[in-house]
């Protein structure tokens, strides 16, 4: 209980709410870097997932990327990218963690984009074809809207994982909420460490809730959403 009082006192200290190491700055850094990673991953993963789902070719590739993503932990990726960044004379407190986060976000978005398109009723696709729609029209007007809930679920999984895992960037000297955990650990400041861990957990939950809202807004109107294919749980928290 003494620790709880210390943590509450830490949050109550106005000094922790301003400046470059203040809570608003750290939260913003965390959200910005996570958002950027998910956006970059989406521009890579979604077109590929849609194309493979639409054509049915390359399913093996999607499966392999998903499996590799699960087997290669983000912490290992982060550390592996550091010597490469050093060799390329890039800032190793920024780029390796962003690279690791992009690679973390790709598998869930890729597999869900693929699974979402594949789950669209083949009879509907045949009917659309019969009505004279081209392949691209079938994809954009039929498959994509029906697959949207599953695709949003993939983005949700990716975003929550990235927000949770970006914490590890502090190990390489990056910013974000991981700084409180890492610096608190290094200086044996338990209150700071616990406050950081709490903030990260809250931000991850807030991300999940926000995407839940996006999911409701983007659910296809009229068409009864098919049973959404949430894939088996992937990587928890930070890996």
């Amino acid at each position: 209980m003494e620790l709880l009082a210390q943590v509450l006192a830490w949050f109550g200290d106005p000094a922790h709410w301003q400046g470059t190491d203040g809570i608003p700055t750290r939260v913003l850094e965390h959200v910005e870097a996570s958002g950027l990673s998910v956006l970059v991953a989406a521009t890579l993963a979604l077109p590929l997932g849609l194309a493979v789902g639409h054509t049915g070719r390359g399913a093996f590739l999607v499966g392999s990327i998903a499996n590799l993503g699960r087997a290669l932990p983000s912490f290992a990726l982060l550390l592996m990218l550091i010597p490469i960044a050093v060799n390329l004379r890039l800032d190793f407190s920024t780029w390796p963690i962003l690279g690791a986060m992009v690679l973390l976000a790709i598998p869930p978005m890729l597999t869900n984009a693929y699974a979402g398109i594949r789950a669209v009723d083949r009879d509907l696709v045949e009917a659309a074809r019969g009505m004279g729609l081209s392949g691209l029209q079938v994809l954009l007007r039929l498959e994509l809207p029906l697959a949207t809930p599953v695709i949003v679920t993939g983005a949700r999984l990716a975003a929550v994982q990235v927000v949770a895992t970006y914490t590890l960037g502090a190990v390489a000297g990056g910013g974000g909420l991981g700084r409180y955990i890492y610096d608190g650990f290094a200086t044996q400041d338990t209150a700071r460490m616990v406050a950081g861990a709490t903030l990260v957990a809250l931000l991850a939950i807030a991300t999940d809730v926000a995407f839940g809202g996006v999911a409701r807004l983007t659910a296809p109107r009229g068409a009864t959403a098919r049973r959404s294919l949430a894939p088996p749980a992937g990587e928890p928290g930070a890996a």
Binding site: S74, A76, I82, N87, P232, A239
Partner: protein, 220 residues
């Protein structure tokens, strides 16, 4: 200055004991976590299967644990259990629960009802039916859960190096601190290799446990 190679093979050849010790510790932490997770989640899944009202609370709690970032969870446990193996194992076991409970439950729920009726007609008690009929039929789905949990745990164990629990993560962390890429890459590659080997091994185990699937050509 010539760039340091990503892997300096002479270092690998000179440090087999160090690498082996890190790998062994990694395997031990993983095995403990998955066995601990099974010990908790199998009874929970059976309970949720038998008493449907228990399903929502059990999966909810497991889901909440699963959402907490791993580094945050380890750090939140430090004030309680210190920098110990127990801290990492509590966190690691916690992350396996959702995967294991969900798959075990799906496996048990997937047993066809005519099979259950046949078992009842043969006079099996609930426990006999569970042990001799339901669990064996659910084995492929249960093992699929164990495979995901194991691969995930192998990855998560690397993070426990940050709370001083060694394994391949410690090798990587040392490499980072000394700016010596070889240790990072050896640790990372061995971690991936361990995940792949464990996954394949569990698949073989599942095939061995379900010979009937092969005979009938149903396959996994």
């Amino acid at each position: 200055m010539p760039a340091e190679p990503l892997i300096r093979w002479s270092w690998v050849a000179d440090h087999p004991a160090e690498i082996g010790a890190a790998l062994g510790q990694h395997v031990l932490l993983t095995v403990l976590a998955v066995l601990g997770g099974l010990a908790i989640s199998l009874p929970l899944a059976v309970a949720a299967h038998r008493y449907r009202r228990a399903e929502a609370p059990i999966t909810w709690v497991a889901g909440v644990i699963y959402t907490i970032p791993s580094l945050a969870l380890f750090v939140l446990l430090i004030p309680v259990t210190g920098l110990s193996v127990l801290t990492s194992e509590i966190g690691l076991v916690g992350y396996t629960l959702l995967i294991l409970v969900r798959n075990t439950l799906a496996g048990l729920d997937g047993v066809p009802s005519d099979v259950l009726e046949a078992a009842d007609a043969m006079g099996l008690t609930r426990l006999q039916r569970l042990v001799r009929v339901e669990v064996p039929i659910a084995v492929p789905v249960i093992v699929a859960g164990i495979r995901i949990a194991t691969v995930t745990t192998v990855g998560l164990v690397t993070v426990t190096a940050l709370i001083g629990q060694g394994g391949l993560g410690q090798l990587m962390l040392t490499g980072f601190i000394n700016l010596f890429p070889t240790e990072i890459y050896v640790g990372a590659l061995l971690s991936v290799a361990l995940a792949v080997v464990a996954d394949a091994g569990l698949l073989l185990l599942q095939r061995a446990l379900t010979p009937w699937a092969r005979v009938r050509g149903a396959g996994a």
